[in-house]
């Protein structure tokens, strides 16, 4: 579904952010992308979405990410931003949800059907006509996920989906993510969340892929994590 | 400066709607030709920021009162005149719709008074000529000085124009019994003080942006392409502006020549024109009380003479210009003090 082939990228010459990165993600896989601040996680997301262009090849469902293919690529990918305020730019939740589908030429009826279905599935029906500036942080995050789901993407990318949420809202978001059947690529420092939602983990460090394997395995490897400025997820740390 | 609906007659309001609408139409056309979709989010976020920024209280050193930011100059320096104008329209519309500041019918007039002057006059006649010039020489300090000069001058001039338009529109609407001259004499000095404070705040913000991200400012990076204007050009533009403003106002004033109002009015305007170059000094509030006393004394001493001496003596006019400047400064200080006093009263109760 997603394939990086020898991808490199630098914002400034001589200071590469990504170095010769290669990996592939199969359809339906749930992958966590972890690494310290500045390891290149966001850049991976931006390259994949065609917001940045670097060297090497990136394929989404067999189509190369290039300026000419942007519409096709973005149609397949849904991106949940870390800051929901930047994602939800219309006055109401409903208007934000219809924004994507209508842009892709869906009819009003079909859009309406999707919006209602997604809201019902996430248990947010009550939020439909609320104002974006008046809902809580937790509601906003869920609504942001809903705006992406309304586009029915084939793969969902999430940037820190559990950040700044209370434990209860964090749990709701985690359960929601777990229930999604699409291909998932999630970046986060919340390793417990990654453990709960992903089956596979990619560990980035200094723009290189230093580990790629089952989540249970990598997230248990205390030495590997600590060498890369992370620590064991609480649930695996065995503390009391 | 927001005008309420009740201050306008339908005819004046409609005229202002047409005028502002035409400028908006031209702006939209221009933006569409450029890269509109990319600019839209920037415009929205900046407009929202300016809206919120208008609520910040800036303490004015030495007075205990506080000032606010206008936004017209700031927006046009950041977004350019067209995008700045449209952003101001939206800000004014939200203020009138949700905060009852201004009015639905008066929106056209408010857009003209605050957005048109602030964005178009402020940008084309003040910001761009000054910032692009070689005034104060080369390098960063010179650019800082140019930004400061353009901001202060821009805010003062555009606010004066705006305040004068408020008077003109209200008078043409036949709303107030206040004689035209008196109204002008009330409005212009108040807005001289307001404009000065706003200019200084705008300067502070723009200088900060210049230090951190100069590429965000309009025309600032254009230095490299050699399209500089000479100092002469700047001076010429400023002179034209001053003449237009001063001359226009005097013409209007002479059509209403009755005694004290006329003198007050004439003085205030000439004082303003002379004052333009040295607002920072005029604003030195440290010795506020002394200045005020002096100004009042001067006023009582000179004004009757001037009113009776009439206008044909060249000496009389220049003397009156000086008196006017002092009065304007005095009134400015008084207003700052009064503003602080009332605000204090209001917060105490």
């Amino acid at each position: 579904m997603i394939k990086f082939q020898n991808v490199s990228f630098a914002y400034e010459k001589g200071r590469p952010v990504l170095r010769d990165l290669s990996f592939s993600i199969a359809r339906g896989e749930a992958v966590g992308l972890i690494g310290a601040n500045g390891a290149g996680k966001s850049t991976v997301m931006k390259l994949l979405l065609g917001l940045l262009f670097g060297e090497g090849r990136i394929l989404v469902d067999g189509t190369e990410v290039s300026k000419a293919n942007l519409a096709v690529i973005r149609r397949k990918l849904g991106f949940v931003l870390q800051n929901s305020d930047n994602q939800m730019f219309m006055p109401t939740v409903y208007e934000d949800m219809i924004f994507g589908p209508l842009n892709y030429g869906l009819s009003r009826e079909e859009t309406e059907r999707r919006v209602d279905a997604v809201l019902a599935r996430l248990g947010l029906t009550e939020l439909k006509h609320r104002y974006n500036h008046k809902i809580s942080g937790g509601e906003k995050r869920m609504a942001a996920i809903a705006t992406v789901l309304a586009m029915e993407p084939e793969a969902i990318l999430m940037d820190e989906p559990s950040s700044a949420l209370d434990p209860c809202n964090r749990r709701i978001v985690i359960n929601t993510i777990r229930d999604l059947t699409q291909t998932k690529l999630i970046t986060s420092h919340d390793l417990d969340m990654i453990l709960d939602t992903c089956t596979r983990v990619l560990l980035l460090s200094g723009g290189r892929l230093v580990a790629d394997g089952p989540a249970e395995e990598i997230l248990r490897d205390r030495a590997l994590l600590e060498a890369n400025r992370m620590e064991l997820p609480l649930s695996l740390a065995g503390r009391r | 400066m927001h005008m309420a609906d009740a201050l306008l007659s339908p005819a004046v309001a409609a005229t202002m709607y047409v005028a502002s609408g035409a400028v908006a139409g031209v702006s939209i056309h221009k933006l569409k030709k450029d890269d509109e979709p990319r600019k839209l989010p920037v415009m929205a976020v900046t407009a929202a920021l300016v809206f919120a920024g208008q609520m910040i209280n800036y303490t004015i050193p030495g007075t205990g009162s506080s000032g606010h930011m206008c936004g017209g100059m700031l927006l046009s320096a950041l977004l350019g005149p067209q995008a700045g104008f449209l952003s101001m329209i939206v800000i004014l519309a939200i203020q009138c719709l949700f905060f009852a500041d201004g009015g639905l019918l008066a929106l056209g007039a408010n857009v003209w008074n605050m957005a048109f002057y602030g964005c178009f006059v402020g940008y084309y006649l003040i910001w761009r000529p000054i910032v692009k010039s070689s005034l104060f020489g080369e390098g960063k300090p010179a650019m800082r000085a140019r930004i400061a000069l353009a901001s202060v001058l821009g805010c003062i001039i555009t606010l004066q124009l705006g305040a004068f338009s408020v008077v003109l529109e209200t008078s043409l609407s036949g709303i107030t019994e206040l004689p035209f001259g008196t109204f002008v004499a009330l409005m212009q000095p108040i807005h001289l003080a307001i404009g000065l404070v706003e200019g200084l705040i705008t300067t502070a913000v723009l200088l900060f942006v210049y230090e951190s991200r100069p590429e965000l400012l309009m025309d600032v990076e254009a230095e490299a392409d050699g399209s500089k204007r000479s100092l002469k050009a700047v001076v010429a533009v400023l002179a034209v502006v001053a003449l237009l403003v001063g001359g226009g106002l005097s013409l209007l004033a002479s059509s209403n020549p009755d005694g004290l109002e006329w003198a007050l009015f004439g003085n205030a305007e000439e004082g303003y024109a002379e004052n333009m170059g040295l607002d920072e000094e005029a604003y030195g509030v440290e010795s506020a009380a002394a200045d005020t006393a002096e100004a009042i004394q001067e006023k009582t001493a000179f004004l009757p003479d001037y009113a009776f001496a009439d206008s044909d003596s060249a000496v009389g006019t220049s003397v009156s210009g000086i008196v006017g400047s002092a009065m304007v400064a005095g009134v400015a200080v008084l207003i700052c003090l009064a503003g602080g006093f009332f605000r204090k009263k209001m917060t105490e109760t």
């Binding site: 973005r74 | 339908p10 990319r38 929205a44 976020v45 920021l49 939206v90 800000i91 019994e177 900060f208």
Partner: protein, 267 residues
């Protein structure tokens, strides 16, 4: 609450009022906008001494308050700052216009007093009309009406986007102001040393935010076209409402209802 929090509160209060339901709320936004504009135009067109002619215009907002269930108190609370400013302009009239136009027993009323009262009433009426429009019409519906009237797309979209970000930015500045004052007790405003950086910092962050926002629009297929919440088609009842209210205004403008009523009692 600081100023920004108050503004946020007022915004959300308007949103809440507009989200209620009443016969007025259910009218088409274009009909409401049209009749509000007509009302304001007719109101300000009254002669400056025609106080008694203007008084009956009060009936329309009173009626709307009743029909929509919007509390009058909220309206006056909102107008508390603006109203005195409107009034202030009229205050000079009694000084300049001292012609006695009315003799009530021993009380002589000058033209200036009449025109001052007329101006104040006009101000009040116009503000109430605008308030009632916004208290019964959500912003997105109003924008849809503006689009119906061919107000340029760029402007309407900008209005919607800005409205959305007014909430976000005001909220952030409110927090920043609080943070500032927590570390600067006793200061009333922002000290001159922070004039530039206080707003400047947020401005720089906002530019990045605008970029991210644009990215999020692009990622959802944006290409110069915004779709708005659908507004139901303009129906007969909307046309009737607009036509009826506008004819009522014109009637009140040209037929001196107050005088007619007065004649019934006073001969």
């Amino acid at each position: 609450m600081n100023k920004m929090e108050k503004a946020l509160y007022e915004l959300s209060e308007m949103d809440e009022l507009a989200a209620r339901s009443s016969p007025i709320h259910r009218l088409h936004p274009a009909a409401k906008l049209l009749s509000t504009i007509a009302y304001i135009v007719v109101t300000v067109s009254f002669d400056k001494y025609d106080l008694s002619g203007l008084v009956p215009m009060l009936l329309w907002p009173v009626l709307l308050f009743q029909l929509s269930g919007i509390p009058v108190r909220t309206c006056f609370y909102k107008l508390r700052i603006v109203l005195p400013l409107v009034m202030a302009v009229g205050l000079f009239n009694p000084l300049f216009d001292r012609r006695i136009v009315l003799q009530l027993g021993t009380l002589a009323v000058s033209g200036g007093v009449i025109s001052m009262l007329t101006l104040m009433l006009k101000g009040l009426l116009c503000l109430m009309a605008s308030f009632l429009l916004m208290a019964t019409t959500p912003i997105d519906k109003l924008c849809a009406a503006l689009r119906m009237w061919h107000v340029p797309k760029l402007l309407v979209t900008l209005l919607l986007l800005t409205y959305r970000y007014v909430g976000v930015m005001t909220g952030e500045l409110a927090v920043m102001t609080e943070a500032y004052h927590l570390r600067a007790p006793g200061q009333k405003g922002i000290h001159i040393s922070a004039w530039g950086s206080f707003l400047g910092q947020l401005l720089l962050r906002s530019m990045d935010r605008a970029q991210e926002l644009y990215a999020s629009m692009l990622l959802r297929g944006y290409h110069e076209h915004f779709h708005y919440a659908p507004v139901r088609p303009f129906a007969l009842k909307d046309a009737l409402y607009a036509a009826l209210s506008i004819s009522a205004f014109l009637l009140l403008r040209y037929v001196h209802v107050a005088a007619l009523l007065g004649k019934v009692i006073v001969r």
